[in-house]
């Protein structure tokens, strides 16, 4: 399968464009409708600093071209999640997120999801950084919308397996706990409808650049992150269990990649997948199934 020649990547086919659009939509909705506790300067500052950092790293590491897409995604995610009390924290988070991709690497693959790593670093470094897991409320309609949009992005980035493994195990543990405690199922249901959890599932843990390469490893990894997150949230009674869990589990990815090697993800591969199976495109691009198989071949 690996002999299938790569068609030229379509710019519009790159799932990151969709992710940027979805994150921008969520940020707009959150800022205006949900009154996110976000400082007015935080959004432009985070975006600008992330882009400048990306540009500087491009120069330092002598990359062929400046690519703003990943930096934009990290910056938008930081705006959606990170809450700060002072300017320098937002600034440092944006630098840390983008620079970590270049600095914290094993086998030329970065270890931490840039947003996740930056958030955890800031929360460890200063009390002036925090997350507001309650900020999304739990509106079922909104939850479904996010799930669909997120699913779309994850599917196109070919990492829906890790997201599904995570959410199935995490939901199972939450419902199991409530069943054991004799709580009404309305309680785990509304926890599941949390916008923060869905954002994490479909936009953070599914980041194709930091998940294991082999599909089985990804499912195991998703389940592990779910178990650790549940333990932090419901046994240690600390907030943001999923965020801490992902940061704790991320260093295991190189180990999993060694034990269960798979084909390294490339955005170019993902870009060949059509968002909507248009006939004309299908004729000249492999079907999603073919592309999946090709990408997963070791």
């Amino acid at each position: 399968m690996s002999a299938v020649p790569h068609p030229p990547p379509s710019r519009l086919g790159d799932p990151r464009y969709y992710q940027i659009a979805v994150l921008t939509g969520l940020l707009t909705y959150g800022t205006w409708a949900l009154e996110f506790d976000i400082k007015p300067w935080q959004i432009p500052l985070t975006l600008a600093v992330a882009l400048v950092t990306q540009w500087a790293c491009t120069k330092i590491w002598q990359l062929p071209a400046f690519d703003p897409r990943s930096a934009l995604i990290s910056a938008l995610s930081l705006c959606l999640l990170l809450r700060v009390d002072t300017l320098w924290v937002a600034l440092a988070a944006a630098i840390a997120a983008v620079a970590s991709k270049f600095i914290v690497q094993v086998n030329r693959k970065h270890i931490f999801n840039p947003t996740n790593g930056a958030i955890v670093l800031m929360m460890l470094a200063t009390p002036a950084a925090w997350l507001s897991p309650g900020q999304w409320g739990s509106v079922a309609f909104f939850a479904f919308l996010m799930a669909c949009l997120g699913g779309l992005v994850a599917y196109r980035a070919l990492r829906s397996d890790v997201a599904l493994a995570f959410i199935v195990v995490y939901a199972g543990l939450m419902f199991g706990r409530s069943y054991y405690l004799g709580e009404p199922m309305a309680i785990p249901m509304r926890r599941l409808e949390s916008g923060g959890l869905l954002l994490f599932t479909f936009f953070m843990i599914s980041d194709p650049r930091t998940t294991p390469d082999h599909p089985i490893a990804r499912v195991l990894y998703g389940a592990l992150v779910a178990c650790v997150a549940w333990y932090i949230q419901f046994r240690l009674f600390r907030t943001n269990g999923v965020i801490w869990s992902l940061a704790l589990c991320s260093p295991l990815v190189p180990v999993l990649d060694r034990v269960l090697p798979g084909r390294r993800f490339s955005w170019t591969d993902a870009a060949v997948l059509p968002l909507v199976p248009i006939l004309g495109r299908l004729r000249r691009t492999p079907s999603p199934a073919v592309a999946l198989e090709r990408i997963h071949v070791s």
């Binding site: 949900l34 507001s132 900020q135």
Partner: protein
């Protein structure tokens, strides 16, 4: 003898607006709500730093003390020294300090130099607390009475149980009237290894101590759980419950992690006639906001560094008072003096630091939630954030200049005034849901506002 069981946070209660500050200056009083403004309210002060928590519980039990009982799920076993009886006056003071406030400005003579005055008023208030039963052959029912204490005027039991059926039966047998559906809720707390803190009034002790009201109970414990159990309260089929949570923390604002915490609309100009009934305005506005948010959010009413206030609705609390409310991390002399003068209102919107070194590492958050079982199925879970930005519920009256002088500025002023009045009316209508026509009428501007609203061409013919 059946004792009605008063489940904490499930009691009908009320908040009485604190009395008018007696020493307001120069005769510029803002009249304010001195009646009960919220029914069925409970108040809880939570002082927390790290995993250490001191919870002060106050509710407004109004019946006979012998009929009072309170059952609170607590995360750990409590020794006698972890239980204390607090002072109601301190909760009232904290309530007054953090209450939403009405401030008043006076328009200057537009022909003259500007001057302004500001006053503040507030809504908020006090309440009493209460007690319950005794026990015997609990073991047969699988109920363990882990400890019995008498603290102040209260008899207190710390209970655990093997299963909730036994606990419900035991409570019923011992005179507690259990609401329907209590057993499964008790069961879920038991499954989490929580204990039950059960208190009733010891009439003999109460007579000896001479209190004619029920003082708030305080408990101190160490647990990672930063939560408030509300599920038992939602079983009392009395409609919605009203709860005020005052969080005292070291780092910054507190918010709920499993419900949205929303700031109430603030810093808005409203018609001056509201001065006559600020309490009614505030309760209407709160109800309208609850409806707007589909009764699914917790409201933030105040978030401020305890070292100062602006404007002050009451004196800042001294270190000693804060310590009595459970703030255990204060250094230095516990009896830092109260600010001199004891003044309450400030004539100007001027920051007011605590004289004598106020508690500069205490941040207060006042949250207000109206809830029922359908909209708030799970207990409130909190987190302390690093947010030290100040927020207060502040409503502004702007008294018009009524002079007769004439100058071009005065003409402009009078023109702008009617526009401003109309805007105030619309703000009030949108905040409270009140009828705009009625608001305009009460402003005394109805006919003119109606005429002014016509398009210019409508006024030609």
């Amino acid at each position: 003898m059946k004792r009605p069981l008063s489940l904490l946070f499930g009691l009908a209660a009320l908040i009485v607006a604190a009395p008018a500050p007696a020493d307001a200056f120069c005769g510029f009083f803002v009249s304010k709500a001195d009646t009960k403004i919220f029914n069925k309210a409970s108040k809880v002060v939570i002082a927390r730093d790290g995993d250490r928590t001191v919870m002060t519980m106050s509710n407004d039990f109004k019946g006979e003390p012998k009929e009072f009982a309170v059952v609170v799920p607590v995360p750990t076993f409590l020794q006698k020294s972890q239980i204390h009886v607090g002072e109601q006056a301190l909760i009232d003071h904290l309530d007054a300090f953090t209450a939403p406030r009405l401030v008043e400005y006076f328009d200057e003579n537009p022909c003259d130099r500007r001057r302004y005055m500001e006053m503040s008023a507030r809504a908020g208030g006090p309440m009493p607390a209460s007690a319950a039963p005794l026990q015997d052959a609990a073991k047969r029912l699988g109920v363990t009475i882990e400890a019995t204490y008498t603290v102040g005027e209260y008899d207190i039991l710390i209970l655990s149980a093997k299963e909730s059926g036994g606990l419900a039966t035991w409570l019923t047998q011992n005179g507690y009237k259990m609401p329907q559906g209590a057993a499964p809720v008790l069961a879920s707390y038991l499954a989490q290894n929580m204990r039950f803190f059960v208190a009733k009034v010891n009439l003999g002790e109460q007579a000896k101590l001479g209190f004619n009201y029920l003082r708030p109970l305080q408990i101190a414990y160490e647990s990672p759980k930063f939560m408030l159990p509300i599920r038992l309260g939602t079983l009392n089929a009395e409609g919605t419950q009203e709860l005020f949570v005052f969080a005292l923390t070291n780092k910054g604002r507190v918010e709920t992690t499993n419900y949205r915490t929303v700031r109430l609309p603030s810093d808005v100009e409203i018609p001056t006639y509201v001065k006559a009934d600020f309490g009614k305005f505030y309760t209407s506005m709160f109800s309208a906001q609850v409806k707007k948010q589909n009764m699914s959010t917790v409201f933030l009413e105040y978030a401020w560094d305890m070292a100062w206030c602006d404007p002050c609705a009451a004196d800042p609390l001294s270190n000693d008072q804060l310590r009595k409310l459970g703030v255990f991390w204060l250094d230095g002399d516990p009896s830092t003096p109260m600010p001199a003068g004891g003044g309450v209102m400030r004539p100007r919107p001027m920051p007011r630091p605590m004289p004598g070194g106020g508690a500069n590492n205490v941040f207060v958050t006042r949250m207000h939630v109206r809830y029922d079982g359908a909209h708030f199925p799970e207990d409130l879970v909190f987190q302390e954030t690093g947010d030290r930005a100040n927020f207060q519920g502040r409503y502004i009256l702007r008294q018009a200049w009524t002079g007769n002088e004439t100058c071009s500025e005065a003409d402009n002023y009078r023109r702008e005034l009617s526009v401003r009045r109309e805007k105030e009316a619309q703000t009030l209508a949108s905040l409270t849901g009140w009828d705009i026509a009625d608001i305009r009428r009460r402003q005394g501007l109805a006919p003119r506002a109606a005429v002014d609203n016509r398009a210019w061409w409508e006024r030609i013919w």
